[in-house]
């Protein structure tokens, strides 16, 4: 009805398919709407790059923690209370003046969910997955992250069980910052390796 301002917009085809599948699975007792709500809320609000930022900030202020993090990422990350799906084998790779690390998944979209949440669309996109292993120096520059010519670029293709997290270099001039302030400086993109802080 043209006068009915509360009439919802028609569903797009994919929305229609998703709604149909959800209704079928609810009818068959395979899933409940409450379960779906809980999962959506967890990943929309609680599981995200703020977790990884806390890990990075701790590594910057605590040399012993940094050592444990680089030796066994999964265990050191669990010390801060983070773990769960896609987090059974997290390896942390450290940026230095000589080495810049960047993470990709060419076959699908593997990503360390407990510390970074769900991946952004660009990470899952064909251009990123195709190009990062083939032209990393050019693509990093194109994405606003030029890497000095004498710095080795290590591209980690997460093709099996390990999920990678980049430990960025601590920015200069942050000597007096608190751990909380440092966590606020850490970005998702720096922990994937497509940005430097």
């Amino acid at each position: 009805m043209s006068g009915d301002h509360h009439h919802p917009a028609p569903l797009t085809p994919v929305e229609e398919r998703a709604a149909a599948l959800e209704q079928l699975l609810v009818d068959k007792g395979i899933v409940t709407p409450e379960f779906i709500d809980q999962v959506v809320q967890a990943y929309a609000e609680d599981i995200g790059p703020m977790n990884g930022a806390r890990v990075v900030a701790r590594a910057w202020v605590d040399a012993d923690y940094r050592e444990r993090l680089l030796a066994d990422g999964t265990a050191a990350i669990a010390e801060l209370g983070y773990g769960g799906p896609e987090g059974d084998h997290i390896v942390v790779v450290e940026n230095t003046p000589d080495v810049h690390n960047v993470v990709v998944c060419t076959l699908c979209s593997c990503y360390p969910w407990p510390v970074l949440g769900l991946p952004p669309t660009w990470y899952k996109s064909p251009p990123y997955r195709a190009r990062m292993v083939r032209e990393p120096r050019a693509l990093l520059a194109e994405m606003g992250c030029p890497v000095p010519a004498d710095t080795e670029i290590r591209v980690w293709d997460s093709s099996a069980e390990v999920r990678y997290l980049v430990l960025p270099e601590r920015p200069a001039g942050t000597e007096s910052a608190t751990e909380d302030e440092l966590a606020g400086l850490v970005t998702r993109d720096a922990m994937i390796g497509v940005a430097r802080l």
Binding site: V14, Y43, A130, R137, L139
Partner: protein, 209 residues
Amino acid sequence: MDGIHDLGGMQGFGPVEVEPDEPVFHAPWEGRTFALAGAALGAGGFNTPMFRHAIERMEPGHYLTSSYYEHWLTAVTTLLVEAGMVSAGELPPGYPLSLPVRVGPADVPDGPDLAPSAGGFAAGDRVRVRDVRFAGHTRCPAYVRGRNGTVVSVGPSAPVPELEAHGGKRVPERTYTVRFEATELWGDGADHAGAVVLVDLYDRYLEGR
């Protein structure tokens, strides 16, 4: 399979489009699909390799032009229909499903061409990726097949993806992180100068050299 998903090194793509301040989910259906896929995979006894393979056998044009969560929706629905848990008649007309790939457990290369190497490898070992072609699910990216690398570390053991995807058999095998010089993969070029690519590979994908 040499499918559309195996994108590493493919040429001709344009810029990486970054959406500023991207939300975790762009619309409610994305989050709901993410959650219900997890529940449905558990209820149907579908493992991750089966799910990944169901995405990989999407029609290539559909794969490239649909979002990540549409991949999930298509794959999980395909598995449910193939298992008889949902009938095609219960779905909206024209619901696109992934295409069948006729691969069974007996087709998984398990002979000398793809047998676990004796004794495994250690950090520092020089290896070559076996040039195996398999029509089903694999986690060996095409761009490293036949290429020379060096083992940098021994990773976790995990079920062989081929055997898990086709028949559900869980056969644990060691994985390794293997380092490839970018020049070994792509020849000389400024776009990858001074770069290395590290790929996690199952024992059976590798041979010594």
